[in-house]
Symmetry: C2
Subunit: 319 residues, 2 copies
């Protein structure tokens, strides 16, 4: 089968043997993969990664222990948790210290014709959610994670900084939950996606507000974003940190302390709330697709995904 | 009257006119002042400060509108709030954007024979609290602020990093509230103060724990402390930031995000909980006094307060 491979910053496609299904696992044929900024960070050396990347996917189950799974379209939780530790007992397998992570830590990713995941990680997709929509479940779950971490009051003003893929998803999720979202970004075409969903937007070119928001989500993907968020937040306000930037980021801790700001690191989520939002048709994800390329053109897809102004690039093994 | 003066890093004592009491203010004779790390930061150029420092004090009211205040021993809230804004209405005058701050922002400090503060800022001291104890009310209030910001579960394990003045106060406050505190520090003589209060201690020389605590208070006063705290905290845990370090601090935001750590800036508190702890004799503050010098020897007192291993240095105008 074909498999994308990342090594020392180079993206290639290799022919390898299909994986063997271990006990409790399903063998899944890839229907669609999505390139995430984390994949680009892995390419830049984050986690010292080499191997098959890919954690945003939709697939079809071809082998499984549970007969009901066979032939079904699925998405999957990307954390393979041990199931035995305190974190797993708390339902927080995504923080299990013994976990592997699809396409990120010790488990080959989804950018290949066949992949494996534990059956318990899978969610069968309803017919009404298309494959192009479902490939956004994983990043949409990461956007929903914010709501799992804090009780943001309804109808409150929230600033989302960054009009990339994650920023657009976060803005839509919070808007769908009744918050008054303002999305700050740099690209008119990206901001327009949010505007069409009824979200207020602002260009960051000139004005960065000072101490104006109690709630801020930083999703710029750049170190500068956190410093801007610290400037924009009001005393005793909260900043969700969504940008995994490789390396150290320097911040003015004195103003965080004097203004008693709370910074909340926010990572992966779980799929249920994301699937519910898609089912209720509350989020427009397909507007964020910039291009769909065959799996064999993964190298070009990675180059494209890293370009300014480009949003989601998908990999389709059937093309 | 004599007044300490800070200018371009130099500490001196000058003879100036006593301040005039404005409407709503009390004129207060200084009984005791305490040198805080913030005073040392002001000396180093923090806030571009020049003027009379000092915000930890006990005084005696010599002029006031409220007759009941005359002749009474008092401590005072250091933030002079406008009383008209949203923050003041929420009881958070310490975040009022129009505020001045005793000895820090636009209001001359307490290190002089006579000072002024709004009468509403004052707390009359009960007889049973000595002047040497009461001079710790302001830093003790800052230690208590943590409990105002988050609901830390009772009996939970908390690591306090830093065996300086603030770390020792924080450790005692949390211990008094039933938490299982471990104080991490560098100096045997400082750690002994906590040990005598029944607090577990650990020397940081060799071992810095990894992902061991859900709750951490960082009070080292150094940039390195925050990085250590981020190493020591468990996924989804919280770090209170208490060290106002001048300048930018670089942190590994990726691990804050992946582990979904919450960083909570924590500054000043209000005096009531601090006074209640002293009244209940739950905190031993006098063990933290390294030396008491006359106001005229402020220069030497600042040098001493900045020395390694030294804890609280007091200024006594009656000496």
């Amino acid at each position: 089968m074909l498999s994308v491979y990342l090594d020392k910053g180079q993206v290639g496609v290799r022919k390898i043997r299909p994986p063997r299904r271990a006990q409790g696992f399903a063998l899944i044929r890839l229907l669609m993969g999505g390139i995430c900024n984390t994949d680009l960070e892995l390419q830049r050396g984050y986690y010292g990664f080499s191997g098959t990347p890919g954690h945003e996917f939709v697939g079809e189950v071809v082998e499984a222990e549970t007969p009901g799974l066979l032939g079904r379209r699925v998405v999957g939780e990307i954390n393979l948790a041990c199931g035995n530790c305190e974190w797993c007992a708390r339902g927080l397998g995504r923080h299990c210290p013994n976990r592997s992570v699809l396409g990120i830590v010790k488990h080959p990713g989804a950018f290949r014709e066949f992949l494996t995941l534990p059956e318990e990680n899978l969610h069968v997709l309803p017919e009404s959610i298309s494959t192009e929509e479902a490939v956004f479940v994983e990043p949409l779950a990461a956007a929903c994670e914010i709501l799992d971490q804090a009780n943001i009051p309804e109808r409150v003003e929230v600033a989302v900084i960054g009009d990339g893929k994650l920023g657009l998803l976060v803005a839509q999720v919070l808007h769908a939950h009744g918050m008054q979202v303002c999305l700050f970004g740099r690209y008119a075409n990206k901001l327009r996606i949010a505007e069409r969903a009824g979200i207020q937007t602002e260009r960051m070119k000139k004005r960065i507000p000072t101490a104006e928001y109690d709630w801020i989500v930083e999703a710029t993907g750049a170190a500068e974003g956190l410093r801007q968020a610290i400037q924009m937040v009001r005393p005793r306000g909260s900043v969700f940190m969504k940008s995994t930037v490789h390396g150290a980021v320097s911040i003015d801790t004195a103003s965080v302390i004097v203004n008693e700001i709370t910074l909340i690191g926010s990572a992966c989520g779980t799929s249920e709330p994301a699937l519910n939002l898609l089912l209720a048709r509350k989020i427009n994800v397909t507007a964020m697709i910039s291009e769909t390329l065959p799996l064999t053109e993964a190298k070009r897809a990675f180059v494209l995904a890293a370009k300014r102004g480009v949003l989601k690039v998908l990999l389709d093994p059937a093309r």
